[in-house]
Subunit: 386 residues, 2 copies
Amino acid sequence: MGKMQMTEERRKQQNKIKRVGVIGGGQLAWMMADAAKKLGVDLIIQTSHKDDPAVSIAKDIVLAEIDDYQATTKLANSCNVITFENEFINIDELSFLAEKDVIFRPSLSVLKPLLDKYEQLCYLQDLGLPVPNFWEWGKEIEPLSFPLVLKARRHGYDGQGTFIVKDIESLQSQGNSEFFIQEFVPFDREVAVIAARGVAGEVKIYPVVETQQQNQVCRRVFVPDENWELGEKIEAIAHSLLNSLEVVGVLGIEMFITQDKKVLINEIAPRTHNSGHYTLDACQTSQFEQHLRAVCGLPLGSTALKARGAVMVNLLGYEFGKKNYLTKQQQLASIPNASIWWYGKTESRPGRKLGHVTVLLDQENSETMGREAKAIADQIENIWHS
Amino acid sequence: MGKMQMTEERRKQQNKIKRVGVIGGGQLAWMMADAAKKLGVDLIIQTSHKDDPAVSIAKDIVLAEIDDYQATTKLANSCNVITFENEFINIDELSFLAEKDVIFRPSLSVLKPLLDKYEQLCYLQDLGLPVPNFWEWGKEIEPLSFPLVLKARRHGYDGQGTFIVKDIESLQSQGNSEFFIQEFVPFDREVAVIAARGVAGEVKIYPVVETQQQNQVCRRVFVPDENWELGEKIEAIAHSLLNSLEVVGVLGIEMFITQDKKVLINEIAPRTHNSGHYTLDACQTSQFEQHLRAVCGLPLGSTALKARGAVMVNLLGYEFGKKNYLTKQQQLASIPNASIWWYGKTESRPGRKLGHVTVLLDQENSETMGREAKAIADQIENIWHS
């Protein structure tokens, strides 16, 4: 294990954070680059892939697996605070570092109830927040009514590790104790919200957005969600959650809206989130800047929209190979008010997130805007798949 | 473009094939290694990943994208015949090589109607083979009855590019001309068969197996399928298909068995196939040896089972990281009559195929064997996920 800085020195550093360690090197770390520059902060990235998007924008790299605790010790020695780009970490090992006064933001105690999705739902339920019915593997499911959702407790992503099962035989043959069971919610729509909490405890909440998934992978985000009447309820949920957790940083909250207009929390991501990528172009402060602000102990920025609305479409790989799709990027860039974010991944793979496009909208009438947003999303997907 | 060998010389080489070029370096190429050794053949692999499983077993490597036609020219110059490990190739570019007497097995004319899944279904339908109803994008769907299946015409794999849509709005928002539409078949079970055809036109068919998918990814294969009465019908389909195609090499045929016991072809893979991995341990000749035999112009081997039955379980990644799961491999190896095939991928990712286990079964009673097979599959998955 590497040499550890002294406690007093480390405490002082909190007040002048200039170097932020980030565990994970994917697009979520990469999209912090502009904000880091603006705030005068260097990012030091721990990742095992020298081709990862964030490697190109990092001041320094610790080239190691993201759950490699010795590498994180090295990372800790070269920066003032450590944050996370993804949740595939080993919290027990990191707690040794936390005991030695390495500062994690969010803290490990915030992450602890969130990393395992079964424990996450227990935590939310204990807070009195609305969640679907759910059951631990091996417990009696009451009422037993199919379909049910079988979800991996950890390491699920983009629909990997989520299965809809139709009968008891499928449930028994497909599941095991690495999974838990969740009620299937025949939702009217799915929505999400990004919320941030600063070191001083202030909470800022972004507009609620509608997310559209295909095979559990996010494809489109519509800003704002048209379903205004639930905005207040969702904001209250976010406030309650962030204050209970005492989180420092940004969270993504994914929710179902049921046909009878109930809100049910589906999942919490303890980090910046795909449903908040639109904030890069459409908000006064992007979720990435907001997260860095929180992590660096700076006051949070405004979450206000800079346009009446926006639509974000993910560019998902649809073939194998090392391609940069320059022509398609150019065509997408020619859509009025569009920003293309291309993550610079060296390799395409069907379903892989290669980039996204956000288009700002300026219709006064929300119905007209909804139609325009849909038409633009269609146009983007047609260019991308042509 | 590289130097091209002369035609006459190349023709002669057909009779003494010692070097086989393989486009693609994944586990399907890697599993040819034992057969290549047995047959005294060298494998030269074209892949863009120096970490790919098959790199370690290759005599030589052409390090390039699999659809890089200039690299394939180089590959052609260093081997007697070229075959394919996957279908993500550019057939138009390769046809220039075929015109210069580079030998592809299967030939490009065999691959041509199969690479695009819409064209594949058209081809099968024209042959009079049973397929689900299907429609080109933009054509009238008649009868219009949901759910429908939206499938990518190309580059789909392991469920990527297949979507079940529930209404016309989802269909319109999710689809485009890169997709086609297929009737949703509420099948009783899914089955598959591996069939091979040699240079001389002989056809060999392996036992029909039951395949169990989760989110369109194969998890378990039961050998043989219990549904004996359809064996003859499926064999007839395979014969008809292979003879019409005049394919040289192995094909995987995936089928639905409907609740009223009809056979419908879902998809053809013009290569060795996951549903045939059990043949490595359970058959006189593995599908990989069979394919190499066909490609090298050797007589095909026996497809007979060496045991009364077998069960194959895929080991799918469930987390991120560079891991080799040695303890789990050892536990799996201690199951009686089990063979572990570990593909040596340097990196795990949820859903990624990292290996498979085949267990041979020797029960006389097919019902008892079915129960044992299921219990063993459960045991394997419990070890793997524990």
